[in-house]
Each structure stands twice: as C-alpha cells, then as structure tokens.
C-alpha cells in the first residue's frame, strides 16, 4: 500500500534578527532591525517580532523604521553568518528526509511521505524537527504539515512564530477558508482588487465557480491557479522539475548618483559578493540579472543569458556592466543598483568542461582561492584593490 503524501514546510522565524539575537544574548527580547544604516536610505531586510510590534516590516524604508521605533537596535546585514546558520539547518533537515528542497535562505520544503516508521506521526516528527533546529542552530522555526507543498507553506505561516500546524487530509478547503483570501499564497493586491470588483470576496465564493467561468473572468492561468488554490490543491507552487533559484544583491546609494565610477565600483563589489555566494553553494548559472532604480522609484530589471555558466566575479561584473549600459538612462541618477544570478543550478548538474579555458576561468580559480581564504580568516584575506576600504553592505536573497 502506498503511503499518503506528507509535506513539511519549514520557515525560520524572523531569521536574520533571530541569528543576531542568538549571537548576542543582550539583544534577546529587544526590537532588532537588520538592514540599511539608519540615516541612510536603504530598507529593512528583517526585523525581530519585538520590532514588529511597532509596525516595522521587511522592505520598509529604514527611515520609517527609525521613526516608528528609535529605540530599536539597528544592525547591518551579515549575509555570510546567516548563510552559515542556514546551511546548518538545511543539513539537519536532510536527516529527516532525503527530499529537501531549499526555497530560500530561511525556508525549505520537505517531502516526508512514508517517514512515519522512522519519526512517528507527522506532528511528532515536526516537533522533533523544531527542537533540533532550536538546539543545534539556535533559532526558532514554524512548520506546516499538509498533503501538498502549497498547503504546507501556508500552514507554516498559520501560527507563526514558533508555530506547528497540520492540515489533515479532508480538511483542505476548511483550512483555505480559515487562511482567507487576503493571505492566500499567490494572490496579490491586483488579483484581490479584480476579485472584489467581481464580488468574489471569499475563498468559499470562488469555489462555487467552475474552472471555465473562473478562467473567463481571471484569464487562463489566473483562473486555473485560483480554481486549484481555493480547493487546497497545489497550483504549482514549486515546479517539480525546476530545482533552480536565484541569488542577488543590491545596494542603495547614500544619495542618488549618476557618477559612473561610483556605480561601476558598487556593481563590482556586488558582483564579488554574489559570485562568492554562488561558489559557496557550489551552484552554477548562465543568467545574469541587473536591477536599477531611479530616484523616483522607477525600477528596471533586465537579464542576459550566456552560452555557458559564468565562472568568475569579473565576468559577472562585465556582463552586468553591459546590461547596465544598455538600460541606464545616464541623465537620470540612480538610487539603487543590484546584480544577481537567475536559474542557479545545484552542483549535481552535469558539467561540460571547455576545450579552451577562458580568461575568466582562470580568474574564477583565483577568486575561489581568495574566497576560501576569506572564509577561514575574514580579516586577513586579500581584497580586490579597487574595493579596498569599502564597508560591507546589505544584500538579500530571493
């Protein structure tokens, strides 16, 4: 007899802030805001639950966070440290199931089907998992249990923080109604507005429509998504075949700038940071993305796919610079630039070596060496001369 499908979704609570509170016990119980430097113009990357009480949220301008709670502890993003803790958690998850799919630095989806002989009923397994994460990685987590990944994701969010919620088979629709339309994953402000216009203000009302009429109102893909979502069926949250993700970093300038040298350097710094994260996880990617934001918050993203995976930060920087040159209207100063990789593949992907090593391959080897040195000794490792004296800046992962 085949086992009924069981999925866990594990979400680390206020992850960056929790790591900071773990590393510095004095911060525990206090509002902690991780992100740009107050007084500057960046945004909040993460905040502790104590800070959320003041209405502080991720992606809020740092100045707004400061206004809401000047007494909070404001800290810079220490991506390397979060990655380290994240890796510990992911390793630990693999003790529970071989089918772990990391979604981001602080989220993972696990296929726990057929593991009850090893760990007992799902709720017991999830409780054990939460305890282990707390004991070994020092952070708290929320776990959702459900017959598919989509429901598991929403269940993990249902009783955050330190939550544990199971959606039993048969109770999917009741759970969706309890979550409600506004918190339904994949339903954004525009979809919501459109649904309201149509008088569809609840998941139960949407469920009364058949697929065809839903699609005629919300479009082919949108209709199909909603049809499945309100029934608690996985509308394709994580495509089964794609195991890729993206890595990116961005920086907000102290004041809007059109200084090509400053922008060039910022991009170089970001390229090194992003490449090191790619090295660190042993992934590879051919697709480079660049993001730029003007003073009026007009944001442009563009991408370029290369014929082969990029091998060094210099190459990433070169492609990024070309993309920027193509998109940036130089008469308008920039508020923010970002660079990243899309469609990052894991190290299990087959590698096709080259007949002719490129100049970037050689640079990549040097960069990898420097990177491993820096990992061992963050202060003593060589730094690219043009980046000397630059303060580490915040970054985020999609």
């Amino acid at each position: 007899m085949s086992n009924p499908p069981v999925f866990f979704h594990v979400d680390l609570d206020a992850f960056y802030a929790s790591v900071e509170q773990m590393d510095n016990p004095e911060l525990r119980g206090r509002p902690v805001v991780v992100g740009a430097r107050p007084g500057g113009r960046g945004v909040v990357s993460a905040c502790s639950y104590e800070a959320r009480v003041f209405g502080i949220r991720s992606a809020m301008p740092i100045s707004e966070a400061w206004r809401r709670c000047p007494g909070a502890v404001f800290l810079p993003v220490r991506m390397g440290r979060y990655t380290e803790v994240s890796r510990k958690v992911m390793e630990l998850l693999r003790e529970f199931s071989p089918l772990v799919r990391p979604i981001s630095i602080d989220e993972a989806s696990l296929d726990m089907t057929g593991t009850s002989r090893l760990f007992g009923p799902p709720v017991e397994a999830a409780a054990l998992l939460k305890t282990r994460i707390r004991d070994r990685a020092g952070v708290s987590s929320s776990v959702g249990i459900a017959p598919n990944r989509f429901l598991a994701k929403m269940a993990s969010d249902f009783r955050k923080p330190d939550g544990l919620h199971q959606v039993d088979p048969g109770s999917e629709e009741a759970f969706i109604d309890a979550v409600g339309l506004t918190k339904l994953w994949g339903v954004g402000a525009r979809t919501l507005a459109r649904l309201r216009e149509l008088g569809l203000d609840g998941t139960d009302r949407i469920r009364r429509l058949d697929l065809k009429s839903l699609q005629s109102r919300m479009g082919q893909a949108g209709g199909a998504f909603l049809y499945k979502a309100v029934r608690g069926m996985d509308p394709g949250l994580y495509p089964e075949t794609a195991r890729s993700h993206s890595i990116s970093a961005e920086t907000t300038f102290g004041s809007d700038t059109a200084d090509p040298e400053l922008i060039h350097l910022a991009l170089l710094d970001l390229a090194h940071h992003v490449m090191h994260r790619l090295f660190d996880e042993g992934g590879s990617s051919r697709t480079v993305t660049v993001k730029l934001r003007y003073g009026d918050f007009t944001t442009i993203s563009c991408r370029s796919t290369q014929g082969r995976p990029l091998s060094s930060a210099e190459e990433l920087h070169r492609v990024g610079t070309e993309l920027l040159a193509a998109k940036w209207d130089r008469s308008q100063p920039l508020r923010l630039v970002g660079i990243g990789f899309e469609d990052v593949r894991g190290e299990e992907e087959p590698v096709q070596p080259e007949l002719f090593p490129s100049e970037f391959d050689r640079k990549g080897i040097v960069e990898k060496t420097v990177f491993s040195l820096r990992k061992k000794n963050p202060r003593g490792a060589p730094v690219k001369a043009s980046l000397l004296g630059r303060r580490p800046r915040g970054s985020e992962e999609d």
């Binding site: 014929g307 590698v351 096709q352 070596p353 007949l355």
Partner: protein, 368 residues
C-alpha cells in the same frame, strides 16, 4: 526594360534571393531584388548588406534595362502563376507589369530605381583562386555544424578558414568540440590572412553548388567572395580572434576503439531518447570488445544498449553530450570509425578508419 522568361527558371533564383534578404518590409530597397536585363541574360541581385547573391540566367530581352521590386511578393506571384512563359515589362511611373503569355493575368508591382540599390562588394579578378566544388562541399559539411551559436562568443560563430603552406584548412568550434579538415588542392591557392566565415554563406554554397567542376574563391580583409555555376555569393567576415585551436588538438591518444559508424548512430538515437535533454549526457562503458551506451536513471526510466567494437585497452567509462557524438558521426564518410582517448576527462578524437583529411575533437563531460 522588357524581357520574357520561363517561370520555373526564374522561381528557383528568386527564392534564393528571398532567402538572403533579411528585411521583410515593403518599400525598403533592402527588401527588393534587383533585375537587370541585357545581352540575352537576366542578372538577379539580392543583399542584406552582409551576404550578397548574384546570378545570371538566359532570358529573351527585348528592351535592356534594370529595376528592383519587392522580392517577397514577386516570389509569391511566381509561385501561384501557371507554368509557361512570363513577360516582364517596366512601365512608366515605377511599375513593373508581370504578365503570363496567353493568360488574362495582370500584376503590377511598384518598383524602386536600381540606382538606389546598394553597390555589391566585388573582389579583384586576380584575387580569385580555383578550388574543387566537391572538396569545398566536403570541407563545409565536416565543419559547419560545429560552430557556436552563442553570440557572446561571436568569434566562434563562424568557420575558421586558413591558408597553410600546402593547402587550406577549415576549423569550427563552440568551445567544447572542434571539427577540422585540411585539403591540399593541386592548383595554386592565393595567399590570404586567416578569416572567420559566417555559416550562412557556407550553407548557401553547400546548397547551391552542383558538386561538379570548380568554385572560385577570393578572401579579402573584410569579405569572402565565391563564384560558381553562374552564381556569385559574398559575405562579410566575422571580426575577432579565433581561439588557438592547434593547442587543443591531442597529438597523441593512448587508447583506440573501432566501431561501426551506422550501428553507433542508431544506438545513440535510441539511448538518447531517455537522456536528460538539458545536459544531453550519455555514458559510454568499455569492457573488452563491448561498448555499452546508457542514459542516467531518471524519473522516466533508463536506456542501455550494447554494441560490439574493437578495443584492447583497460575497462573505461566516459560521459559525453550525445549531440557532440552524433553530429560528427553523421558527416563522417566511412563504415568504420575510430574513437581515440587517453583519460575520461581529456579531449576525445573521432577519426575515420581510412586516412582522411578530417577529424573531430570532443571534450567529454564530467562523470559525476
């Protein structure tokens, strides 16, 4: 201008002209084909400014002259007309009247004066040298499939054409595999600097050349010119530095497999059905005189095929992109081929068992 010609004779040439023309918008001179009637012949010219095509066919000229018309529509008209003779008559007010003889059909196409048509590049007569059509077609077939389509490596987007002491060499690579052929023609080959030739013109030659007699070639700094069977084609060259290919050609290989080419192609066709299509990685396992091709096990399943071969080395396994294997095999000419290798992570050489002027190099994939 006024001339009469047979529909089928014209349609072939106009369809080639249309293949060259990249601009498909009406009212642009680059969308037009040039027709020039004189001395009992019609000259047809088309260009996209990179590749140019010129051909001559015998027609019955009553008034010499020249003009240009929208090639796409001319081709469309010719395709729908019944077989037989067609009269082309240039009228005043920039109109070309197209009228099949003895039919009540009347097309009037707007023309643009031939003086607006771009001047096609020409080479000096003394720059041309003769080459066997059969040889050039073989050289193109052995290499052109291996060029890179990665525009960021534009210098690999064409076939490298090089004059050596005793002949000419063509090499193509996409950075992971490489195809090489050298020919030693009996007649004199003019000296020229090595150039990178876009595949478009080479594919055209392969398609249009009869394979009989000779072809004339001229290479200048920026262009290559080819003349054969009343046709002239030219193309701008790709600028850039072709990689130092000599460096990656293995001078010596330790092991050698001899295998039936057709049997290998057929086995690859079957096993590749279950190979993951992104990496196209296929495994080759050698034990004694058996060669096992297999796919990786996936959610879909696994494929495995054993074929016999001649191999005396130790047991070995390597992995390859199956396309890099199949494509050279398809153009190789003898029933038996040799696969030469040294280590699983070093370049592999594919050769014919007969001594031929070509070989193919493939970089294997990592096993894990």
């Amino acid at each position: 201008m006024k001339f009469t010609c047979e529909k089928d004779a014209l349609i072939k040439e106009i369809s080639i002209a249309q293949e060259i023309i990249s601009s498909k918008s009406a009212l642009s001179i680059l969308s037009n084909v040039l027709l020039e009637a004189d001395n009992g012949a019609l000259t047809i010219k088309a260009t996209d400014l990179k590749v140019s095509f010129e051909t001559k066919i015998p027609v019955d000229v009553s008034v010499p002259g020249s003009t240009t018309v929208f090639c796409d529509k001319l081709l469309g008209i010719l395709r729908t007309l019944p077989p037989g003779d067609i009269e082309f008559d240039e009228k005043e007010n920039d109109i070309l009247l197209i009228k099949p003889l003895f039919k009540k059909i009347d097309f009037r196409l707007k023309t643009i004066g031939s003086d607006k048509f771009p001047e096609l590049q020409i080479a000096q007569e003394e720059d041309y040298f003769e080459f066997s059509q059969k040889d050039i077609i073989e050289m193109i077939s052995q290499t052109v499939f291996a060029v890179s389509d990665d525009e960021t490596r534009y210098y690999m987007n064409g076939v490298y054409l090089e004059k050596t002491d005793d002949g000419i060499v063509m090499v193509a690579t996409d950075g992971r595999r490489l195809s090489y052929i050298a020919k030693k023609p009996e007649n004199h080959v003019a000296d020229f600097q090595a150039v990178i030739v876009p595949p478009t013109i080479l594919n055209l030659v392969r398609k249009l050349a009869s394979g009989e007699g000779t072809i004339s070639l001229a290479v200048t700094d920026k262009n290559v010119f080819i003349k054969f069977d009343n046709q002239k084609i030219s193309s701008a060259l790709i600028e850039g530095q072709f990689p130092n290919y000599q460096r990656v050609i293995p001078t010596e290989q330790k092991f050698q497999i001899q295998v039936d080419r057709e049997a290998l192609i057929e086995a690859l066709k079957r096993v590749s059905l279950l190979v993951e299509q992104k990496s196209r990685r296929i495994y080759i396992n050698l034990t004694g005189n058996s060669m096992v091709l297999s796919s990786e096990e996936s959610d879909i399943g696994i494929a495995r095929e054993e074929i016999s071969c001649n191999y005396e080395g130790e047991d070995a396994i390597f992995a390859l992109n199956y396309l890099y294997f199949t494509e050279p095999l398809r153009v190789m000419t003898d029933p038996m081929i040799r696969i030469q290798f040294t280590e699983a992570n070093k370049a592999i050489t594919l050769r014919s068992t007969e001594e031929r002027e070509y070989f193919h190099i493939v970089m294997p994939m990592q096993l894990e």
